[in-house]
Structures are given as structure tokens and as C-alpha cells.
């Protein structure tokens, strides 16, 4: 009996143990299944995130396939480039060689950027080509530089496009326009002591009036570092005095804009004196010359005589100078033959000085220009205006810039200019009127205030546009 009880107990214990093991195994299996399911889900999430990062994360694989090119300021805006001036004066503005800078985003090294030149379709047909580097590779900071070489041709416009392989279209710089720049000093003449109210200062709008002529040919005229001066009064400048004054002013005018600098010197007068002898066989006691322009700087009469005996000349009496009514610039010399006998004929001669026309200005190729304003200023204190001087100044600066060359086909063929280093413009309208500021005489308006430009390439404007002024040798 006790044996049966012991066997039954052992069977019961074994069954309980087996049941317990089964529970544990089931729990383990279930737990493992749950874990496996969670792991599978987690891997799926990870794969999806990986795809997202490939698309959006810039620091993950293949950066060179994603970098884009960006131009740096100031290359993003339209600008003027002064191609005649030394680059060292202002590398961002001067010289034909332009360093265009930009960078890749992200800022990583080793990205190749390709460049292309974009010429403005409105450029003149004879505009020489610009050139630009084909490509550059970004530096450690992502930056890169490409060199653009501009032509000297005024008004030429160019852009540069830059592009990485990841970009469908290049991004363009602002447009660079070729300009030239020259500098000026204005030297005013002091007022004469005898006429303290007479100002020989330049008109305030004198330089701004020049834009009519020089903007169309892409020249800027700007004040130099030393842009003003005064010089003592001189009533009149002869050729020798002009030369002496120019030499002395030149030394004082040189500054850090030299030799791209001109000096515009305001002066009273710089006319030419001539002498004539008036002769007649007088049949009256009173004799009078014809009208002559008065010379203000020396005595008018050199001699006034009559033939008192054959071969003997004696002085006329009551010699006077009379101005024309309302026109004091015009005078006549009169005198009387002493002891004149009615019905006789007496030889008379009057030698005098006179003014050979009115000089408006004097220029040349040296960069010093004289503007004669005393005559106008005395007649009207508000004259001359900048507009009044515009033609003379533009003409003289045109000469200083090389117009018109002795072999240029549009030069005035008149032999008056033959043998000089420069000539004048010969173009006229169909009606025979001159049509350029480089005509040899002052006068007229409209086309006479500008450089002729309708006969490309053989005209004054296109000469100024295409000429290299980096070697200018003024003051």
C-alpha cells in the first residue's frame, strides 16, 4: 500500500514539473517571437530613414553631386569697370583683368565649377572678345575665383555664368560695362585787383555739362585728388605766357591720379594781336580808318602820320580812338592833317594794333586746357555757363584724347591741317553743315556738341570707344 502511494506521488510530481517546464518554454517562445517582431519593425524604420537622409542630408554621401555655385558680392550686381586705370588703384573697379569670386554651397573643397562668357547682344559689332577661365576648383573654404579679361572697348558689356555639375543652369554675375575714367583739376584765375567784382571762377556746372559728349563714349570725368587751385591774375596770356603758366601749373597739379589728369585753367583772355597800316590819299583834313577789333593790352596807335613833304612824314594831330555806337569792341582811329588845304590830296598812314578774332580756348595734347571767360563774364556775371563752355571743352579734350588722327579716313581733308599731329573731323550733313564737336570751329548746337557716331567704325565716337587709354600721358 505505501508503495502504491509513493508511486502515485512520484507521478504527480513529475507531471507538475513537466507542466511548469511547458509554461516556461511557452513564455520564452512568446517573448522571443515578440522580440523578433519588434526587431523586424525597427529595421524597417531604419531603412526608411536611410532613404530620407540620402535625399536631404548634405553631409552624407556624394557631396560633389549636390554642391551649387554662388557668386559673391559685388559680382552679383551690374558695375562699371574702368579699364584704362591701373588695377592697383582699386582692384574691384579698375583694369581689364577682373577676378570674379564666388563659392560652392555647401562650402566644400574640390568641387569643379565651369564658367561661360555672356556678351551683351547689344555690343558694338567691332567689339573685341573678352575671355574668361573655363573652370576652377573650390578651395578648402568652398571659394573659387575666375579671371575675366575685358577688351578696352568702351561700352562693351559682359556677364559670366558659373555652374557645377549638379546645376541645370549657370548662375550669372551682374553685367560689367567697360568705362574709362580721367581726372581733372580746375584752376581758377584770381580776380584782377582793378576789377575785384570780376570773377574768373569756373561755372559750377562746367564738368556736369560734359556728360552730353562723354557719356555716350563711356568716359567718366571725375575730380582728381587735388582738384582745385587758383593762379594769380594775368590780364592776357600770350602764347609764351600760356606756355610758361602751363609749365608752372603742371608741377603743382601732379598728384596720385597722374598721368590721367587734366588741368582746366580759367583765364581772362588769350587772344592774338596783329598790326595793320591804313593808308589813303586824303582829300579832307579829317581822316578815319575802318573798323578794327580793339586790342586791350598795348597802345592801339603805333604811328599816325601824313606826308608833309615828299618823303617826309609828320604826325597827325588830334588822334583819337572812337568806339562804334553800342559796340565798344569795335574802334576806329581818326586824326587831322594840320594845315590842310582844301582841294589838295595828302598821303596819310596810320599803323595800329588790333585783335585777330576772339579766342575761346586753347588746348592740345598735354592735358592743360585754357578757357577764356573774361569777355563773357564782363558782359554778364552769370556767363559763361557750363553749357556755354561745353563745346570748347569737349573739343579740346577730344584733341587730348587723340582726335582726329592724320590718317583717319574721316579727317577733314582741308590742307589747313596738313602736317600737324592731329586734324579735325570732316563730316557734314547732307546740307553741308558740320555735325561733330571736332569740327575745326566753334558754333552750333545739337550734333555739334557730341562726337559723331553714325559712321561706324570711321567716326570720332568709335575712335574714342576702341582706343586703349591705359597709356594716357597727361599730367
Amino acid at each position: 500500500m505505501w508503495g502504491l502511494i509513493a508511486v502515485a506521488a512520484a507521478v504527480a510530481v513529475t507531471a507538475a514539473a513537466i507542466a511548469a517546464v511547458a509554461v516556461v518554454v511557452t513564455a520564452v517562445v512568446v517573448t522571443a517571437a515578440v522580440l523578433l517582431a519588434q526587431m523586424a519593425s525597427a529595421r524597417k524604420d531604419a531603412d526608411e530613414n536611410f532613404i530620407d537622409r540620402v535625399i536631404s542630408d548634405p553631409v552624407l554621401p556624394c557631396p560633389r553631386l549636390t554642391a551649387v555655385w554662388v557668386w559673391d558680392p559685388p559680382h552679383t550686381t551690374d558695375r562699371r569697370r574702368y579699364v584704362n586705370l591701373p588695377k592697383a588703384w582699386d582692384p574691384d573697379m579698375n583694369g581689364r583683368e577682373v577676378e570674379l569670386k564666388g563659392h560652392v554651397e555647401p562650402r566644400i573643397p574640390g568641387v569643379v565649377v565651369n564658367f561661360n562668357l555672356i556678351a551683351n547682344p547689344g555690343n558694338e559689332p567691332d567689339t573685341p572678345a573678352a575671355s574668361v577661365g573655363a573652370s576652377a576648383t573650390s578651395e578648402a573654404d568652398g571659394s573659387a575665383t575666375v579671371r575675366l579679361t575685358l577688351p578696352v572697348y568702351g561700352g562693351a558689356r559682359f556677364k559670366v555664368g558659373g555652374k557645377t555639375v549638379a546645376m541645370a543652369q549657370p548662375v550669372e554675375t551682374g553685367e560689367l560695362t567697360v568705362w574709362r575714367k580721367v581726372f581733372y583739376q580746375i584752376t581758377d584765375m584770381e580776380s584782377p585787383a582793378a576789377e575785384p567784382t570780376l570773377s574768373l571762377a569756373h561755372p559750377a556746372d562746367m564738368i556736369s555739362a560734359l556728360t552730353t559728349a562723354f557719356d555716350p563714349v563711356f568716359f567718366e570725368i571725375k575730380p582728381s585728388t587735388k582738384s582745385s587751385a587758383t593762379t594769380p591774375y594775368q590780364a592776357h596770356l600770350t602764347q609764351e605766357q600760356r606756355s610758361t603758366l602751363e609749365t608752372s601749373l603742371r608741377a603743382g597739379a601732379a598728384d596720385d591720379r597722374s598721368p590721367f589728369k587734366m588741368n582746366i585753367v580759367m583765364c581772362d583772355t588769350a587772344d592774338i594781336v596783329g598790326t595793320q597800316e591804313w593808308t589813303d590819299n586824303a582829300t579832307t583834313a579829317a581822316v578815319t580808318t575802318g573798323w578794327i577789333l580793339k586790342w586791350d593790352h598795348d597802345p592801339t596807335v603805333i604811328h599816325a602820320q601824313y606826308e608833309s613833304a615828299p618823303g617826309t612824314w609828320s604826325a597827325l594831330t588830334n588822334v583819337q580812338i572812337t568806339a562804334a555806337p553800342g559796340q565798344p569792341e569795335w574802334i576806329a582811329v581818326s586824326g587831322e592833317i594840320p594845315g590842310f588845304t582844301a582841294g589838295s590830296t595828302v598821303a596819310v598812314r596810320i599803323k595800329y594794333r588790333y585783335k585777330v578774332g576772339n579766342a575761346g580756348g586753347w588746348g592740345g595734347t598735354t592735358g592743360t586746357l585754357f578757357m577764356c571767360i573774361g569777355r563773357d563774364r564782363r558782359a554778364d556775371a552769370a556767363k559763361p555757363t557750363g553749357a556755354d563752355l561745353q563745346q570748347a571743352l569737349a573739343h579740346e579734350i577730344g584733341h587730348a584724347l587723340g582726335l582726329v588722327g592724320t590718317t583717319e579716313p574721316w579727317r577733314d581733308m582741308d590742307p589747313r591741317d596738313d602736317g600737324y599731329s592731329l586734324r579735325h573731323c570732316g563730316y557734314k550733313t547732307a546740307g553741308g553743315d558740320p555735325r561733330c564737336v571736332m569740327w575745326y570751329m566753334l558754333g552750333g548746337g545739337g550734333a555739334r556738341l557730341q562726337f559723331c557716331c553714325s559712321d561706324r567704325p570711321n567716326d570720332c565716337a568709335h575712335y574714342l570707344l576702341r582706343t586703349d587709354y591705359s597709356g594716357l600721358g597727361w599730367i
Partner: protein, 262 residues
Amino acid sequence: MTCAIELRCHTRYMAYGPIAFGVRMEADAATHQAVNGLLDRALEVVLVRRDAPGVRFLTKTDPGGLFLPDPVAPPPLRGMSATARVIEEREFDLLDHGRRHDGAATYVAFACFADAISDARAIEVVHGRTQLPPGDAPPLAPLAPSHAQALIALLPQRPGLVARLVARDGLRLEGSVTCAPPANRFGLPPPRTGFVTIVAIHRGPRGGVSARSFQLASPFHDGWATDAFSLPIAELFPELTAPARLLVFSGDLAPARLDLPA
């Protein structure tokens, strides 16, 4: 109007200068008034090349000067004599105001003042190394053979130069020339063709001279060239009006003189 002009010059100059000339202008009262007392406005001193095409005018004022239009003189007053004469003498140098003469050349020189023309002078400018380059001289188009032959037939002697004014499609200057190539002593190649230089002188109170040179069409052959020309005056000298004189030059040949009909 009866003015006078006298030209004073040497016959031989050195190219490096001075190449000086003097003129004496004598104006009547009407001419003095017409040029506003500025006699040189009616003056031109003309140098016509004999050894090559080209013309030079002496410069009257510094070309660096820019002059305002001449003021107009008031009308004559009573008491101003109508019989007076005004005399002005001037000195010029061909090399004034920076002009150059970079070579040897021979010229015919004369001066024109209002209605007056001075005697012509043959002058030579000597240079040690080279000849002065020729002046502007566009080529003339050849004439139709029959027209050219008719003009060449007018030549009384050869070498020689003949010219006439004819009214055909407007006034034309026609003529012919037989000439030898001008010599030079610098070993330069001779020109291929001859040339003519035509000077138009306006003989009014304000004067005025214009000039043009042309290369002839026919080349030199056996040391001579014979050619004819026919040029419309209106195209040659559009501003020319009578009274005017035309002078036609070719090398050292005697010039032809023609007065424009009124």
C-alpha cells in the same frame, strides 16, 4: 575790289627748318570791311607738290586755339574813306606750331588774298634721308577710250598739260596730261601712275582756297604716261562759286589756268 598779295620766300630750304615765308596783303576798304578787319581770313599760302601728289597750306594761327565765330563789323561811318588801302604783313613758317616736314619735297608756292593771286615760286625742301610721303590722292576712274582719245588730242605738245571747262551734266573740268615719273634721289620706287593736283581759288572778298590731288589711271610705260580726266566741279568743290580760278598742276609741267564762268 582790287586787292594785292605778295609772297616772299627762298627757293631752297632745309627740312628741319626754318621754312619761312612772308606775305604782304593789301586790301581795299570794301575788302577790309567784308572780312571784319581780319585780313588773314581771306589769305591762303598754298604749296602744291611737284614731286608727288599733295598740297599744303601755311598755318595762319596756332591750331591749338579754338576761336569764336568772328564778330561782324559795324557798317562804315561817314568819313571813312572808300579809297583807303589797308596793308598787313605776316611771317609764317611751314614748321610753326609743331608741324613737321619729314622728307624732301619740291613745290610750287603761291599766295591768294581775296581776288588777288601772287606770282608762283618753285621751291625745294631738302632732306638728307628720304622723300616726304605723298599727300592724299584717290585714283581716278579711267574714261571711256573714245572720250580719253578726244581729250588727249587736245594736247598741243608732249610732255604737257591741257585743261578746259565744259558744260556737260553740269560744269566739268576736263583735260589730259603726258608726264614722266617724278625723280627722287633716295632710291624709292617710282610711282605707278602720274597725278594731277587741282586748286580752286575763290576770288571774292573773303577769299578761300580748296585743293584736291588725284592719281591718274594709266601706268607709266617707257618712262611716260598719257592720260585724260573729266571731273564734275560740283563734286570736286561743292562750295565753289564764281568768281573763281582753277589751277591744274601735274609735276613740273606748266599749270593750266581756268576761270569759272559767272
